[in-house]
């Protein structure tokens, strides 16, 4: 009973931290992709997963979906919808990174900066980070209601 009460007391703080963390992360992640769509398109090509006809469209739209979802979450405009979008994106990133790690394909994730080095270790770290963010997003959805 006591632990339940403590959980309830801390939940709003935790939700606020998750909101800030996910929002800022996605705004930050979108910045360099918006600044250099050609570079991001090349990163997407490097994943060797997407059909050629979809690469440019994804490079143009995905960063703005990240940006809008990030801002919307921080500003409290449709926060649950923003987290649902963020979770969908994170699930996609996890599938893509995981698939390439499993098949041993070297790639640059291009998540935050476009690096010239491809390191499997850093991509495993990215996978773990994405899982943690997804878990935070699920926690957020389970503890909020549409207002």
């Amino acid at each position: 009973m006591k632990s339940r009460k403590m959980k309830n007391n801390y939940t709003p703080v935790l939700l606020f931290i998750i909101k800030l963390m996910l929002g800022i992360t996605f705004i930050y992640a979108s910045y360099h992709k918006i600044a250099d769509p050609a570079g991001f398109a090349k990163i997407l090509y490097g994943y060797e997963i997407f059909p050629g006809s979809s690469i440019n469209i994804l490079a143009i739209t995905v960063p703005f979906v990240e940006l809008v979802a990030g801002f919307s979450l921080i500003l409290g405009l449709f926060p649950r919808s923003a987290v649902l979008i963020i979770n969908a994106l994170l699930s996609g990133f996890i599938l893509i990174i995981g698939f390439n790690l499993l098949r041993g394909h070297q790639f640059d994730c291009g998540c935050f900066v476009f690096s010239s080095e491809n390191q499997t270790a850093s991509n495993i770290y990215l996978l773990i980070r994405d899982f943690l963010m997804l878990a935070s997003g699920i926690y957020f959805l389970r503890n909020t209601t549409a207002s």
């Binding site: 918006i34 600044a35 250099d36 769509p37 050609a38 398109a41 090349k42 090509y45 490097g46 050629g52 006809s53 690469i55 440019n56 469209i57 490079a59 143009i60 739209t61 960063p63 703005f64 979906v65 940006l67 809008v68 979802a69 919307s72 405009l77 449709f78 649950r80 919808s81 923003a82 649902l84 979008i85 209601t145 549409a146």
Partner: protein, 167 residues
């Protein structure tokens, strides 16, 4: 709740798409809606506003490149970084790294006649440095510039002769 969440998703994605396509259209760094991502068709590119890729100057046939190298039909320019060039390059290729272009441009103009037939390459179909270099050569009024689209990686893959610079 689900209805409100879905409405929110629709509105946010709709707004994001409007912003994305508008920004891409207005930005000097914007890219085309469809790029060239088929390696067999030459250098891959998103066709951005700052892109200098020109498919018409590409030579895609490795046999044709072999012929050019063998008969010395063109002056070959390797635009990869010097240290990469030293590890292996096409026979008789000259090193003019793109990143050192400003420093080496006077030497280039002095040593290579503007009417010379030139062939530029970089690492693979994934790099556009060869096209960037070719565009700069054209600006310098070099009239016959071609790009080997497959680059060093394709040359190496088929097992043709590779020259190395010791040191």
């Amino acid at each position: 709740m689900i209805q409100k969440d879905l409405k929110g998703i629709f509105l946010l994605v709709f707004f994001a798409l409007i912003a994305a396509f508008s920004y891409n259209y207005l930005s000097p760094f914007g890219i085309a809606l469809f790029g060239q991502w088929e390696p067999s068709k030459g250098v891959v590119t998103s066709y951005s506003g700052t892109d200098s890729v020109e498919a018409s100057i590409e030579i895609k046939s490795i046999e044709m490149i072999k012929q050019i190298v063998k008969k010395k039909e063109r002056i070959i320019l390797d635009v990869r970084p010097r240290e990469i060039y030293n590890q292996g390059h096409l026979p008789d290729a000259l090193s003019f790294p793109l990143k050192d272009f400003d420093d080496s441009v006077s030497q280039l103009i002095r040593s290579i006649d503007r009417q010379s037939a030139l062939l530029v390459y970089c690492s693979s179909v994934g790099c556009t440095d060869s096209h960037t270099f070719a565009a700069r050569l054209k600006n310098l009024r070099y009239t016959d510039v071609k790009v080997f689209s497959g680059g060093f990686r394709q040359w190496q893959k088929v097992g043709y002769e590779i020259q190395k610079n010791e040191k």
